[in-house]
């Protein structure tokens, strides 16, 4: 019964003003994190020698030979 009551009350009525401030700060921090991760680019290096290249690169050379 208590649970039913809680979900029927609008969210802004459930929190005190200090709780709202904390939630707002959390929301801002979540948004900031999301923005930086969507713009965050991941880079990798190739191995040190051609012979150490992955099978995909070796297949690339083989397949270009068929073109």
């Amino acid at each position: 019964m208590a649970f039913r009551l809680a979900i029927s009350i609008p969210a802004n009525k459930l929190y005190t003003s200090s709780m709202k401030k904390t939630l707002n700060r959390k929301a801002i921090s979540t948004r900031t994190k999301r923005r930086s991760s969507s713009h965050g680019k991941k880079y990798v290096s190739l191995p040190k020698t051609l012979q150490e290249l992955s099978e995909g690169y070796k297949a690339l050379i083989r397949e270009l030979g068929k073109r």
Binding site: K42, V44, S45, T49, L60, G65
Partner: protein, 170 residues
């Protein structure tokens, strides 16, 4: 900046290509084609000129376009162009952007809308599949786009490379 030399080609690049080809596939014997070697040597020297090719992306684009799009050798020019490009990246410890195949496809379509992306079940990873498609584009002038000459081709490839590759800060 470190550059690929004809010496690197003889000791590393050509043997790598030979090792990856099956006995039945046609393969240029690069060392036996003197005219091709002379043209390749010219391209490998020209790329060192910073006034022609000021950035890493410009240099990488020139290497790939000039070799893969040329007829320096009777066969195997695309393979050679891609392998020299990779060797250039290795020598300079270049970093490459991690993208999905879909994003590579989108990037290539932005610059070369006339090309239809080709999937290849034996090339599983996204980055070599991108290079495979790019080499096909470079080798087929009809896919460059209307009014795109060799200079414009190099520019397009350089713009793509500047999004994909960068040198580590020294």
């Amino acid at each position: 900046m470190q550059y690929v030399t004809l010496g690197h080609c003889r000791t590393t690049v050509f043997p790598f290509i030979y090792a990856e080809l099956s006995r039945t596939e046609p393969s240029a014997q690069y060392e036996q084609e003197n005219n091709g070697l002379a043209e390749l040597d010219k391209a490998l020297h020209l790329v060192e000129n910073d006034s022609f090719y000021p950035t890493f992306a410009d240099k990488a684009a020139y290497l790939l376009c000039s070799i893969a799009g040329s007829q320096y050798f009777s066969n195997g020019n695309k393979r050679l162009g891609v392998t020299v490009l990779i060797q250039f990246h290795i020598l300079n410890n270049a970093k490459q952007l991690v993208l999905t195949a879909k994003k590579y496809q989108k990037l290539l379509a932005k610059f070369f809308p006339k090309h239809s992306w080709e999937s290849n079940p034996t090339i599983i990873e996204a980055d070599p599949l991108f290079l495979y498609n790019l080499a096909i584009v470079i080798g087929d002038r009809t896919k460059w786009g209307d009014g795109v000459d060799f200079t414009a081709l190099k520019q397009k490839v350089s713009e793509m490379f500047s999004e994909l590759y960068h040198l580590p800060k020294s």
